[in-house]
């Protein structure tokens, strides 16, 4: 291995002498590469759109808008923020719903209970799977994994009432003491 350093010194001296025009040293970020690939391969239903509020130089933070075309939330418009860390895909993206929504699996702070975002995340999953997972929450809200306890209880015991509540919330009204912004 001494040889290894020997040549290195030689090269360093050469580099000093000639005005080297070699590669600028660049760190390679494998996480970012994988994310860019995920993004170009997105295959989203028409009801989901992606946007990049920080422009093309920051793809690690983006927004996904979901407009369900069926189910309780039909015609609503819900915006999610995605934060992808440099450890991606070893770690799941951090996802929040920034539209306040009356939903059994999304709390009023925008936390989302979706298994693949936490306990079931695997590096083979990708952004597309996450968006489909979110989409699925609107077509099939599920009272068994509640984050909004009240909404889950209503969905379980009285689906008709739940539907009314969802409509009222999306129209910009109150459900119980909580007001919701209009998102329809």
């Amino acid at each position: 291995m001494i040889g290894l350093f020997k040549v290195k010194e030689k090269q360093r001296e050469e580099a000093k002498n000639t005005n080297s025009r070699g590669a600028s040293v660049k760190k390679q970020s494998a996480g970012e590469l994988r994310l860019h690939k995920d993004i170009t391969e997105l295959n989203l239903p028409e009801s989901c759109t992606i946007s990049f509020p920080n422009g093309k130089n920051d793809l690690m933070n983006f927004e996904v808008t979901i407009k369900p075309d069926e189910g309780y939330y039909k015609n609503g418009k819900f915006v999610f923020t995605f934060q992808v860390s440099s450890v991606y895909p070893h770690e799941a993206p951090k996802v929040k719903c920034i539209t306040k929504v009356y939903h059994p699996n999304i709390d009023l702070e925008g936390n989302v209970c979706l298994n693949i975002l936490r306990e079931d995340w695997k590096p083979v999953l990708n952004i597309n799977t996450v968006i489909y997972g979110l989409f699925h929450l609107f077509t099939e809200p599920n009272y068994e994994d509640p984050l909004n306890h009240d909404a889950a209880a209503v969905l379980k015991t009285n689906p008709k009432q739940f539907e009314t509540n969802v409509r009222r919330a999306m129209g910009g009204g109150y459900v119980g003491n909580t007001s919701f912004p209009r998102c329809i």
């Binding site: 001494i2 290894l4 350093f5 090269q11 590669a23 760190k27 390679q28 989302v112 936490r118």
Partner: protein
Amino acid sequence: MADLEAPQSKSRDLDKLLLRAGNLVGPDFYPGTEVKALISQLSIVSSSFSDFVIRLLSLRVLVVGAGGLGCELLKDLALSGFRNLDVIDMDRIEVTNLNRQFLFRLEDVGKPKAEIAAKRVMERVSGVEIVPHFSRIEDKELEFYNNFNIIALGLDSIEARRYINGVACGFLEYDEDDTPRRETIKPMVDGGTEGFKGHARVIVPGVTPCFECTIWLFPPQVKFPLCTLAETPRNAAHCIEYAHLIKWHEVHGGKSFDPDEPEHMKWVYDEAVKRAELFGIPGVTYSLTQGVVKNIIPAIASTNAIISAACALETLKIVSGCSKTLANYLTYNGGEGLHTKVTEFVRDKDCLVCGPGILIELDTSVTLQKFIDMLEEHPKLLLSKASVKHGKDSLYMQAPPVLEEMHRPNLSKSLYDLMGRVQKDTVHVFGTALKNEEKQSSLTKLRVVFKGADGVADMDTAIGA
């Protein structure tokens, strides 16, 4: 015994390794005082040393991290005869470090780890020069890392390892025949511990697997489902995570939680206690709260010592060639009995970080559009609908439409200009490749060389002609 009259050399044991030939030595090993001087940078430069040894007196080792492993590493390297060390760490000393980070004292709490660690080792080991860097690893210029011959890692996160690995592999260059150029290899020795378990590995980029080649080795972090936290907490950790992940944002809105802020931690602890009382769950303590929130696994001093010893020895071997290095991944488990094993992992030859990539020669006039068209014809690639990324910059993205549009103006520009007019550099391309007559999603590294760029290029062919 025979040495009773001769003064005991501090490096007596080291001498046995470095001054004598042996059967297990590496191919480049030349025993003698030169190699010892090389490592320990003898302050008196003997006139008998060859030029190359004198030049090598600038051999430098960087220790990344001055925590549990870092303290051990600095001490071990200093006592192994290394005289010229640097250490980088962004953290300050906390009371809870003192049980194992033995270079620190109670009065050091609050001071930068790197500075105190360097000072303490220099006080105890004569002749060693340690330069501390109280800094984030990401805040150093990439060229900073090129000053070192070898990098020893005592880190506790995948993120930091991935960063350093990316930097070290970024220096690696390949010849036309995909052989790594030795002078561009930046070896790393990586240690890691978790309770009674640990690993030590030798990463020689281009020769042994890099961190990215084997990233799958790391188990995923345990994460509790949010709904369990919100609805059916069953243990103390659930109560703490509820306070940390849900309650904090509910009460503090946009203010982000800072795990290094004691007031924030206290707040989470108090909330977790309330939650635990509500559900009749025992076991929430302040230290458990810190442990769960910061994802701390109890550190065992002797695990650190064992792993660090292995790392220091490998560093010595890489530098001196006095023995073959570990090939290439040692695991240590002291939890159930004691078990160590060395596994020789293999490189991912298509690794996006350390792999050679595919060599492509281009004229400086080639536009990005032309380049993308060429990728489709290239026999090794057959890549259609390619997107192109150069370092941090994406040059072109085929989709989604909103990004395609933002990048479209680049298509008519020359790739040479887009890449900052360098003679050669790496780009990554991704799209749909035709492999075995099947279309597959593909992500590939390319080494682009521009023909006739700025005179310095084509040196080899110029000599041949």
